[in-house]
Symmetry: D2
Subunit: 312 residues, 4 copies
C-alpha cells in the first residue's frame, strides 16, 4: 500500500506546491484572510500498520479551523443521538447542483427540506438535532465527540474565527429562519448559529485530521484501540455523503477524477478516507474557484493515480 | 360620475355578497382567523363633490388591519424621506411572476435587490429607509404619516395582531437576513421586523381607507383641505405600483379585467384609486386563492364596468 | 395638447440624438446588424385633429421590422378570432421578472402556461391561435389585419430578416416543443415558427407605426374613418399588456418613469399609445442593455414630462 | 461471495414480489403501458467463477427496453470515440437536485452545459458525440457496441417503442433546440432524436443486461474472453456516474441505503455493478414515484445487506 514514508508524502507536496499561487485564500472574515497562502501540510494515518501509523510532511504544526469539514462529524453525532429515521426526516440525501448556501431548493422543494447535510441549510438542521438540554451542553457534546475521535486529545476552537463568523453569517441566519418558518428546525436561531460557528471554528492540525479520517476508514473504530467510536452504518453514511456532496459543486468531478471520499472546508482543510486502509488530513488554504483547497485536491488526485485509492 | 349614493353602493355589495362563501379567511395567525367571513363593507370618497363627499355601505364600523396595503403608504413616506434615487437604488421597479414572499429572485438577481416594493422583501427594505433616529421614532413617523393622510384622525394599531405576527414571521426574518448579508438593508433585523409588523397592523375602517385612497386620487393633495400631503410624483409612483404589482400574483389579470390601481392586504382590505375622481376603501376578509378579497375584487370589477373606472 | 408640429418633434429628436452612441444595435442576425446606429425617426398621429393629423421628424422613410411589436397586433387578432376565454386559457396575464425568452416559469408553473403574451412563449402560443385552415392562411390573415390597421396600405415583410431568424431561432423552437409537450400548442412547430418569424419581419416606417398606435389610442377605431377595426375591450387589453409587460424587463421602470403604454422591438421600433389622444411610432436601432431603443425610450420620457402623457 | 445459486436469487425475488402492487407501470407511451406489472426477473453474472457464471430467476425470457440505462452505454462509447476532454467540454460531471428532464439548470448555468450525462439533456449531447458520418452510421455503431458488450450476441430494438417515443418526445426536442441555440450540440435535431429514441428502445432480457453489467464490474474487460471492450478509466467513469446520478432523484438515497453503482430505466430495468465481483440485470416494470423499479431497487438493497455489496 502506498504512502509509507514521510519522504514519499513530502515528494507529493513538493509537486503540488506551485499550485498554491493559482488559488485564493478565503477572505470573507479577517481571521481566515490572515492564512499563509503558501502553506501545504498533509498527514496519512494508516489503520493497518503497527505502532508507527502516521506519516506526514509540510508544516504539520500549523493549525486550521474545520469549517465545513465539521459537517461530517456533527452528522455522525446527530445520527448517533437521534437515529437514521429522525435525522433524514428533516434532511434529505440528494446531491444538488446549487451552491452550498443556496435558498432556492428550500423554496421549491416540498416540505422545505434541505437536500442534504453537506449544504449549509442541511448542516444547520443537523446541528440542531444534536442532543443536549441547553445550547452549551450541545456544544460541549460536539467538542467532546471530536475529542473522542482524536483519542481523547484536548482540542478547542478558535474564538476569534467563531466570533467573527457569528457576527457576519447573516446568510446562515436567513437559512435558519426560513427552515424555522417551515418547521424544519425549532428553537432560538442565534443559539443555533452560536453552536454552528463554534463547530466550524474547531481547530486542529493535519495530523489530528488524518486520525479522525482514519476512524471513518476503520468503519468507525478507533484505529489505535479498536473501540467503536461510530457505528459502522453511521460511518458508511458519512463516507457516502463525502462522495456525493463532499467537495461543494465539484463533488461529481472529484468523484470522477479522484474517487476518494473527501470533505473540504473553506479554511483549506480536506479530510479524506481510503476505506479499510487509511485516513488523510490536508491543509493548504489557497482555494480554487469552487472553494476547495487547490493543492489539497491535487494531492488526493496524485494519490489516487499512484496508489489506486479510488473506490470506483 | 358613478356611485353617488349609499344606496347605489349597497346594491353592489348585495350583488357580491354570495361570493364570500367561496373565499377563505386568512388563518396563519389567530387574530386574523377570527374575522367574520361574511363581512363586506365599502366606502367611496369623491374628491370633486362639495361637503358630502363620501358614500358607504355595509358594516362600516368594522375595523381591519392594513397588512400589505401599508406597503404603499410606507413607500410614499420613504420616497418623501429619502428621495427617488436612494429608494430605487435598494429596491427595483419590476413586477415579478414569483410569490410575494419568495426568496428566489433575491438569490438569482444581481445585487440581491428586491424586484419591487410590493413584495415582502422590497417592502421590508422600504420600511428600513424611513427616517428616524431610533426604531421607535421611525414607527411614530409612519403612524403620524398615516394619520396625516386621514386628516389628522387618531388611529392606532392592533397590538394583538402585531405581536402575533412578530412571533411567527420567520420568513420575513429570513428575507431580512438575506438582504442584510448582501447590503440591501442594515441595522437590527428584529427592530425592523417590529416596525414592519406594527405598520401591517395599523387598524382602520373602510371609510378611513377610502379617504387615504382619495389622497392618491387627488395627486397627493388632501381631498378636503387641498393641502399637499404627498408630492404629485410620489403619488403617481405609488399608483403605478398598485397597477403593476398591487394585487399579488393576480395583478396582471386585475389590470386587464378591472384596470383600477389597487392594493390588497391579507386581512381582506383593498385600497383602490380612480385618479382624479375618487378613492375606494373595501373590507371583506374572505380571500381568493391568490390572497385578494374575493368580494372586494368583484366590487371593483363591477365598478369598472358600470362606471368606466378603468384607466386603460 | 402637445407635439403639434414637425418642428416641435424634431426638437425632441435633436435632444435625444446623442444617446444613440451609448446604445448597441442588435447583432444576432446580419440583417439587423446592418442598421444605421445613428438613425432616429418618429411620428405622432393625432386622433382628434382635422385633416392634418400626423407630425413627424427624422428619416421617416426608413423602414424597420416590427419584431416584438408584432406581439401586440397578433394578440389583438387572436382575441378577435378566438375570444378572451380561449386565448387566456392558454396564456396568462401576469408580468414576469424573468427574461422574455426564459423557459424557467414554463417549467415551474402549473400547466406550463406562459405567464403573458408579451414574452416569446406567450407570443408563440398566441400566434398559434390565429384562425386559418393552413399556415399560409394564418399568415395572410395576420398580414391583412396589419394592413387594415394601416387603412388598407399594402405592406409586406422583410424576407431576408424572416429567413435569417427562421434559421437561427432555435430557442423559440425549444419553447414551442416544450409547450407542445404540455398541450399549450399543437400542430407543426416549424410551420408556427415560419409564421412567427414572418410576423416579426413585417416592415414599415414610423409613420405607419404611429397610425397603428392611433387605432389603439382611438379605442380600436380607425382614426380616419372611425370604423371599428378592433373591439374596444380588445384594444384595452392590448394597452394594458403594453403597460405591464411592453418594455421587456424594464416595463415596471418605464411605467414609473414614463407611464405611456408602449411596446418595443429588438429592431429599435417602439409603438406607444396616449389613450384618447394620439399614437406614436418611433424607430432608432441603438438599444439599451434591456433591449429597448435607447433614444426611443427617452423621446417618450420627454413627451411624458412635457406633455403630461402619463396615464398614471 | 453471495448469490451463488438460482435458488438463492429466487428467494430474494419471492421476498420483493409483493412490492410490485405498490408501484406503477410507466404509461406515457402505450408500448410501455402494456408491461405486466407483476413481472420480476433478475440475473447475476459472476466474473470470478468458472464456466457456470450466471445465476438467474423469474421470467428471464422477458425482454424489455433499456431506456435510460442506455445513457451509460452510449457515454462509454462517446468517451471511447471522442475522449474525456471533448466529452466533458460539452457535458458536466455534477449531480443535480432537479428532475432528469428539467430545463432550468440549462438556463441558469453558464454555457448552458448540461450538468451531467445521466439527465436527458446530457445524454442527448453525449449521443450527438458518437462517431459516424451519418445518423445511420452513428446508430449502427451504438447497436454494434452494445452487441460487443454482449459477446457478439445479435440484439435489436423495439421499433414500436422507438416510433412511439419519437412521435411524443417533444420535451427532448425542446432540450435539443435549447442546446443547439447555445452551441452544445449541432446538426439536425430530429436525426439526433431518432438515434436517441432507438438507443432507448434497445431490447434485451435480464441475463443480457447482467452480462453488460459484468463488463463494468470487470473494469471494462469481457467477463468470458478477458478482451478489453472498454478502457478501464472509461468503465470507472461510468460506474462513478451510476453512483452519483444513476437512480434519478433517488441517487443519493440509493447510495446511502444500498451503495451499489446502478442505473435504472423507466421500463423497469436496472443495471447494477459490484466492482470486481459481478454484474446484475433486473427487470420489474412497476416503478416507485421517482421512476425506479420498486422491486428492483429492493432486490439490490437486500443484496447489499446480505452480501455486503456496498462500495462504501
Amino acid at each position: 500500500m502506498g504512502c509509507q514514508t514521510d519522504q514519499e508524502l513530502l515528494g507529493i507536496i513538493e509537486r503540488v506546491k506551485p499550485l498554491v499561487a493559482k488559488g485564493k485564500v478565503a477572505d470573507y472574515i479577517p481571521a481566515l484572510k490572515a492564512a499563509d497562502q503558501s502553506n501545504v501540510s498533509a498527514a496519512v494515518f494508516h489503520i493497518t500498520r503497527g505502532s508507527d501509523v502516521c506519516v506526514s510532511a509540510g508544516d504539520i504544526e500549523q493549525k486550521f479551523t474545520l469549517q465545513s469539514i465539521s459537517k461530517v462529524l456533527v452528522l455522525a453525532l446527530a445520527l448517533i443521538d437521534q437515529g437514521y429515521t429522525n435525522v433524514f426526516q428533516k434532511v434529505g440525501m440528494e446531491p444538488t447542483g446549487d451552491p452550498y448556501n443556496s435558498m432556492i431548493k428550500l423554496e421549491t422543494s416540498s416540505h422545505s427540506k434541505p437536500l442534504n447535510p453537506m449544504i449549509n441549510a442541511g448542516a444547520l438542521a443537523v446541528t440542531s438535532m444534536v442532543n443536549g438540554n441547553s445550547p452549551d451542553e450541545k456544544w460541549r457534546r460536539i467538542l467532546h465527540f471530536v475529542q473522542c475521535l482524536l483519542g481523547g486529545k484536548a482540542i478547542g476552537y478558535n474564538k476569534e474565527v467563531a466570533d467573527s463568523e457569528y457576527k457576519t453569517t447573516d446568510l446562515n441566519r436567513s437559512l435558519c429562519y426560513f427552515m424555522k418558518q417551515h418547521g424544519v428546525i425549532d428553537g432560538d436561531v442565534d443559539e443555533l448559529i452560536d453552536i454552528y460557528t463554534k463547530q466550524c471554528a474547531i481547530e486542529m492540525n493535519c495530523l489530528d485530521l488524518s486520525r479522525i479520517a482514519a476512524v471513518f476508514a476503520n468503519n468507525g473504530r478507533d484505529p489505535q484501540t479498536g473501540n467503536i467510536l461510530i457505528e459502522e452504518e453511521v460511518a458508511r453514511i458519512c463516507k457516502t455523503f463525502m462522495v456525493t456532496c463532499g467537495m461543494y459543486n465539484a463533488s461529481g468531478e472529484f468523484a470522477i477524477k479522484v474517487g476518494i471520499p473527501a470533505k473540504s472546508g473553506v479554511s483549506g482543510g480536506i479530510m479524506a478516507v481510503v476505506p479499510g486502509k487509511l485516513g488523510i488530513g490536508i491543509f493548504s488554504p489557497a482555494l480554487d474557484e469552487r472553494g476547495n483547497s487547490i493543492a489539497g485536491a491535487e494531492i488526493l488526485k496524485i494519490m489516487a493515480e499512484e496508489y489506486h485509492f479510488s473506490i470506483f
